[in-house]
Structure formats: structure tokens, C-alpha cells
Symmetry: C2
Subunit: 365 residues, 2 copies
């Protein structure tokens, strides 16, 4: 086995040691590699809400470790309050962002450990919680590897007649910075890079610029070939035959296969379909929400319009992009109908339309 036969990454967006969750502050990339330390659930919820940490799978992992940090903090002070403190902390973490279902899922697993260990010694319960958080992270790491392999195989099969280097377009950041592993969409990209050269086009992803700041940064860290483009240019490049596959992540996948993901995904799916370019959603099965029937039932986070017209500067402060007093809208996610999604790649396999049956199988416990 050569060095390059397993997709990997140098990027590590979090660490957890004895009650301290250290998060790479994604608001400050690519200008600075700074960290946010969370030693309570409140600090972790604030890091999630303020987007210091983001990415559907990763905020699940962060919330799990945030509960561990909270447990250590409470046990050191008022160990008798552990159950009440963790119940409140779990609520706070789940409500820190509304769209990604992984957050509620990870907190749900931690809650089950809290309940199962009820009545046990406080110190031991903390260790049980930390073991569960480690399992959630390790499962996500392995899921990314499997997603990468499934996705690369699925796309490669569609490129059998392709001459030259294939180009994959992605939106937002569904990479190492969004997961505990090599990423979902970027996991597919990294797995493709093991098979041969691949070029990556990264939508800059306004207004938060996850593509320009995060996807470009993490792919460059791993020595991959990445080019940034304004979101509005994607449809035109697809129309000109310069894109061979679109691969994105997901924040929630409804039972029928409708996909909620970073706003802009739906427009990409329309353009890909108009030109017969494969449109692939890569996500762990924890993103599938069988309790949500279709996209219309997914809550879409409306963020503050000021985040659109005030661009944060690396040195602090913001620069205004629009005239004073003009309002702005910022729906953070959109819904892509299942029929436009050619493949939903999970760690358990690939779903093709109609998606409902395969998704039910993949998401079964």
C-alpha cells in the first residue's frame, strides 16, 4: 500500500482534552489559525451559534464534547446537580442552530448515556459520556471515508468516456472543517484524488464565504488543485461544459430525498440538471431525518440580514457592502427537490431516484 492509497487530510478542526473542547475558529480562517476554548455547554452553544464551528456533522461532534465539558465542570462544583445541568445543557445545544439534524441526533445519543447511567458515580458518568462522544466522532470519521469511497466510485463510473482531468464543483464547505474526518463532499473529492488528478471549483459561498475561506484553505492545505469562483458563475461554467460533477453536503435530508443545504445548492442543482451534469449529495446517514416527510417541513434558518451587508474584516470590525439603512435577507439554507438529486452518497451506500426506499434502508438503526 502506498502513502496515497487512503484518502487523508492534515486538517483538524477540534480537539478535546479533559473538559476542554478546543475549536479551530472558522470565522478567522484563512487569515489566522486561532482557537476557541469551550469549557462549558454555554460556551459550546455560543461557538456553534456564532459559527466559530460549523458543518452539520461537526456541530454534532462539538455538541457531544460540549456536554462532556459541561459534565466535568458541574462534577467539579456541584456533582448532585449533574442530571439537571445536563438536561438544560442539552436543550441549549440543540437550539443553538435549527436546520442541521445531526445536532439533535448527537445530543440525543449523549442524553441516552445520561439516562442509562443515572444513579451511578458522577466521575464515572463523565467517563461514559466522553467515551460516547469519542464514538460519535470516530463513527463520523469512518463514515467520511466510506462516503468518499462510494462517491468516488459512483462518479468515476460516470466518467468512463471523459478525456482529460475531471472537474468537480462544490458549494459551501462539506469538508474536513465540517466533520471529524476527511469531509463528506470533500471526502469524495479526496477519494477521487487518490484515484487520479482532479480539479476542484469552489463556489465562494456568500455571504459567509465558506467556499473561498474554508474549502479553498483546507484543499490547499492538502495540496489539492482548487480554484474559487463567484457563486453566480457556476451555472455559466456548467453550461460551457467545464464541470463534470457537482458534489455538495447536506444539513438535513427528508424521508423523500429532498435536501436542505447551504443556500445556493438549489440553483446549482437546477443548472446541473439543465446540462446533464451529475448532481451528488454526500452526507452521513445521521443527516437523514425519516421523521421529516419532505423539504417543505424542514425549518429554514433565517439569519440576520446584517450578515449579508456587513463583511467582517480580518483585523476586526466590518466593512459595509450596501448603503446605510438598506435591509437585507439571509435565508441560510434552501431545499433541493429529491428529483434533482442524482445520487445521495452515504456511508452505507448510494441512493438513486426515487430516493425514499434506499434512504429508509440506510437510516434504519
Amino acid at each position: 500500500m502506498t502513502k496515497r492509497s487512503v484518502p487523508a487530510t492534515r486538517v483538524s478542526p477540534y480537539s478535546y482534552v479533559a473538559g476542554r473542547l478546543r475549536l479551530l475558529d472558522q470565522r478567522r480562517l484563512p487569515h489566522e489559525e486561532a482557537f476557541v476554548d469551550c469549557e462549558s455547554a454555554a460556551q459550546t452553544a455560543e461557538a456553534i451559534r456564532s459559527l466559530a464551528v460549523r458543518g452539520a456533522p461537526l456541530i454534532g461532534v462539538a455538541a457531544a464534547y460540549g456536554l462532556c465539558a459541561e459534565a466535568r465542570r458541574v462534577v467539579a462544583r456541584v456533582p448532585d446537580d449533574l442530571d439537571i445541568a445536563l438536561a438544560l445543557a442539552a436543550e441549549r445545544l440543540v437550539s443553538s442552530r435549527p436546520t442541521a439534524v445531526n445536532l439533535a441526533w448527537a445530543v440525543g445519543r449523549m442524553r441516552a448515556v445520561v439516562e442509562a447511567s443515572s444513579g451511578g458515580a458522577a466521575g464515572e458518568r463523565v467517563l461514559l459520556l466522553e467515551a460516547e462522544a469519542d464514538r460519535i466522532a470516530e463513527e463520523d470519521r469512518l463514515a467520511c471515508l466510506a462516503i468518499g469511497r462510494f462517491g468516488a466510485a459512483w462518479l468515476s463510473a460516470r466518467w468512463s468516456g471523459l478525456v482529460g482531468i475531471p472537474t468537480v464543483l462544490t458549494h459551501c464547505n462539506a469538508g474536513a472543517l465540517a466533520t471529524a474526518g476527511i469531509g463528506t463532499a470533500l471526502g469524495v473529492v479526496r477519494a477521487l484524488a487518490v484515484l487520479g488528478p482532479v480539479a476542484i471549483l469552489a463556489d465562494e459561498t456568500r455571504p459567509y464565504l465558506q467556499g473561498a475561506r474554508l474549502t479553498a484553505w483546507e484543499l490547499r492545505e492538502d495540496g489539492l488543485d482548487v480554484t474559487v469562483l463567484p457563486d453566480v458563475a457556476a451555472a455559466s461554467l456548467i453550461a460551457r461544459g467545464r464541470v463534470h460533477g457537482v458534489v455538495v453536503g447536506a444539513d438535513r435530508i427528508a424521508a423523500n430525498g429532498d435536501v436542505a443545504n447551504k443556500v445556493g445548492t438549489y440553483g446549482l442543482a437546477l443548472a446541473a440538471r439543465a446540462h446533464g451534469v451529475p448532481f451528488v449529495v454526500a452526507a452521513p446517514t445521521t443527516t437523514i431525518d425519516l421523521a421529516t416527510r419532505d423539504g417543505a417541513s424542514i425549518p429554514i434558518e433565517e439569519r440576520d440580514g446584517r450578515e449579508v451587508v456587513a463583511l467582517p474584516l480580518p483585523g476586526g470590525g466590518t466593512v459595509s457592502l450596501a448603503p446605510d439603512g438598506v435591509g437585507a435577507l439571509y435565508p441560510a439554507f434552501d431545499v433541493t427537490p429529491a428529483a434533482l438529486v442524482d445520487a445521495i452518497v452515504t456511508e452505507r451506500g448510494v441512493s438513486e431516484p426515487p430516493h425514499a426506499q434506499a434512504l429508509a434502508r440506510f437510516a434504519a438503526p
Copy 2:
């Protein structure tokens, strides 16, 4: 007649007095109302190239006055060189930007005056050129008014069952800042506002932010209701039924009705069609290029990718939006196929698909 019965604007993007073309510097809006003075064709060409002045109809007007400024400059120094100087100046102006056909059209009209007046007194020839530039500007001003009325009537007819305030979405800036009048797309908006309340959604239009900076500024100046959104949010708002019409300008319309316009227009047209929302292109007949058969023959300006990843700051300098060393693509325009365009609104009437016949009639001399 009440004050509001004729659509109007307070915004004036240029003035010309005796050899000096004064342009409102659109790079510095909305932070500052600064001006660029052009007293030669070279300065005018640089103002066009560097986007101090932009908008397909307006760069035609600016180029015409730039030739007048050049003529005054040459006549004051070496009047015998006038023909050679104007021929070189015309070349320089036409090549300052490649996509908009109005530029070549306006310069062509000025060249005809140069030729027709050949052999005449130099001072008199300057006055003939200035009269022609004034005519070009006045024709554009009147064209905007007619476009506004035709467009407002066409859209209103489609909104007969609509309850509540209609919402128009626009991309880039096809307004008073892009013309010598009330604008093309925003001319339609201003004409709608005379008929009744209308809400305007302005795509921010990355990377140059013409929507957030210019469209928002000029509509606010005129007291209209404008909200900015990230370009990526448009498809999602259209899907949710929150947009009743999409109205954009054009940089060049091919004989078959394919439309070159600011990159991002094509994606909007796909989304509008997917949800049955009228998609309207508003442009003077000078934008129609019968010599260009279809969109594939329109040259698409590729601007420097650095303009995508380096955002200019109001106080000077730039802020980097992506990691150092990561490349970027910036195709400045895209092509929307004629079949997706429900109406092309010109000062001579409205073309509906298939567009070829009506366009040929409208563009006939």
C-alpha cells in the same frame, strides 16, 4: 397630472461641459459620491475599463462624450491631426470593454459624424460631435422612459390576479447608473412604482456588488423599497413564491434572442422558468446585435480572478477573501438562451418567444 405620473430619478451619473466629461465614480459608491474627470479619450477609456463608469447604455454615452473631449483637446493643440487622433481614440474606446455592443454602436455613430464633417473647420466639427453625443444621450433617456412604460404594462397584465404588493427581483444594476435616463430594468421598476407600490429585491451581484452598492443606492435615493440578498438566495425565494417577476438588463442580445448579461443572469432565468415566474430582459434596441447570430458567438469578458478574491475597501486597499495563492475565475457575463426569456422589452415594443422576428423589426434602422 400629478408629480408621480411620470417615472423619474434624482440620480445623474455623468455630465459634460466644454471638453470635460465628469463621471460619478461608481467604484466608490455607496460610501462616497466622488467624481472622475475625463478630458481625453484615453482617460475615458480607462474610466470604462476600470469600471468607474459601467452599464451597457451608459458606457456608449460616455464613449461618445469621451470622443468630444478628445476632439476639444486635439483642436486646442494640433487641429490638423484631428482625423487621425479621433480614429485612434475611437479604436481605444471600442476596445476598452468587449461584451456590450452599445459601446461600438455609439462610437460608430460618432465616427460617421467625423467622416461626414471631414474637411470642415475643426471648431465646427467639435460642435457637430457634441451635438451627436447629446442626441445619443437624449435618445437613451427617452428609450428608458419607453422601456419603463412597456415593461410595466407587460408585467402588470400578468399580475391581474395578484393580491398584495408585487415583488420584482433584479440582478446587477441596469438603472439610472447604467443609462442616461431612469434605467432599463430599473426603468421598468420606476414605471411600476408610478402605478402602485412595488417591492424590489436586489441580488448583491458578486463580485463587484453592483446590486448591493449601486442598485440599492439609486433606489434608496429615489425613495423606493429595496432589499438586498445574496445572489445564491434568489432561487430559493423564487421557489417559495416570494418573487412575481425577474427583470434584468442586457449587454448584448443576439439576433435569435440569446441574451448576454452580467454573470448570474442565466441561473436566475433557470429558476424563474422552473417556477413559472416571468423573466424579463429590458434593453434599448441599441443592445440588439443582428450581426451576432446567437449567444455562442458573443465574446464573454474574462476579468482578472483577483477581482473575486480581493475586495476593495472604501478607504483604499483590499481585503483578501481567500487564502493566498488560490486562483479564481471571473467570467463577467453569461448567456441566457432565448427560450428562457419571456419578454425582451425595448423602446419600440415587447418581444415574446420566438424572439427572432420581433428583434429584427425592432433593430431595423
